[in-house]
Symmetry: C3
Subunit: 139 residues, 3 copies
């Protein structure tokens, strides 16, 4: 089986956001898949997708705080500055974390570890809504 659809996420503040339930709810067809792969591709270059801890929101705060210091705004050697001081750091974070995930499906559900959740990294101050192109294949 193959299934493809877009998922639209509303604008979120800069930082990391747990979207596991948004993804699962948008895909009732997961229930028909006993084993397979779910591919998520974020269609943007200043945000990211990653798997990380699904419980304590402080983990999401801390990764964002780390990245803001790792790639601060206003670095003197940045040339791509016309779209605002948060834009080039957002491009860097997007490539460091990545914009696509491939996740296992087992028995009609996302097969995540006990503590794993899907995070959207919004790396711009006003990134707007974000689109994810989802491709499911399995049997």
């Amino acid at each position: 089986m193959w299934h493809q659809q877009e998922i639209h996420l509303p604008e979120t503040p800069r930082g990391f956001h747990l979207i596991t339930n948004d993804i699962a709810r948008a895909l009732p067809c997961l229930a028909e898949c006993s084993q397979g792969l779910l591919h998520l591709q974020l269609m943007h270059t200043s945000a990211s997708l990653t798997l990380n801890e699904n419980s304590d929101p402080d983990v999401r705060h801390d990764l964002d705080a780390f990245l803001r210091r790792l790639v601060p705004e206003g670095l003197s050697y940045f040339r791509h500055t016309l779209e605002g001081p948060d834009d080039m750091p957002a491009h860097v974070a997007s490539s460091l974390l990545g914009t696509q995930l491939c996740l296992a499906i087992r028995d009609g559900r996302l097969a995540l570890g006990t503590w794993q959740g899907i995070w959207l990294g919004e790396h711009r101050e006003h990134g707007g809504s974000r689109r994810i192109l989802v491709t499911l294949t399995g049997c």
Copy 2:
């Protein structure tokens, strides 16, 4: 064809460990696949999977040494500290390197470059055993 199974890796010390042979040995069914994809999903949020150099162990030492300095323990702005000083740096490393790999299968074998190997990144001092959910699809 679809095949799914879990692979259990025993506890390893903090650092990077070459696991190419552990993966290949656990999957005799690879031999039946002439072309396909092997998806590896680590079921944890304080370890990582990456492809890197399979020969000189100094490369594994140096990447670990780099990460320990990039994300030191005890950063003053970290809030997620209850699980120990090595926990939040481990979550950061896990997202920077990633926890899933998708690898090409060709002629019944992992199609890796001459110098490529699969690395497990153990980012905790006592991470315990680790589970990888493997999904194989191909023909």
Copy 3:
């Protein structure tokens, strides 16, 4: 359908290079795929593949400039130095950015966001030509 082939890229200078068209041109069979996944695996450990901005070349400059400062040559604790001062930093960049991408195919084409392009990260001064093993599956 399954299709697998190697794509050879000529040597490029250290830095990031937009290779979306090189990939698409090498794969006329994409046109036969209405929905699917295209897997790209770089067969090297001192270069990388990532998705990022496809328009302003300054974004490519800035990410390279950032990485050169993040992982400078000659770090005193690096042990893997026999292959030259640019080699270990290249291994680090390779794992931070990753060497494989899985991309959605829709209506016979790469389904990229408006601003997304495929980047090759060449992290060595003289990395030579680079090989990408491509695996396409879909219907």
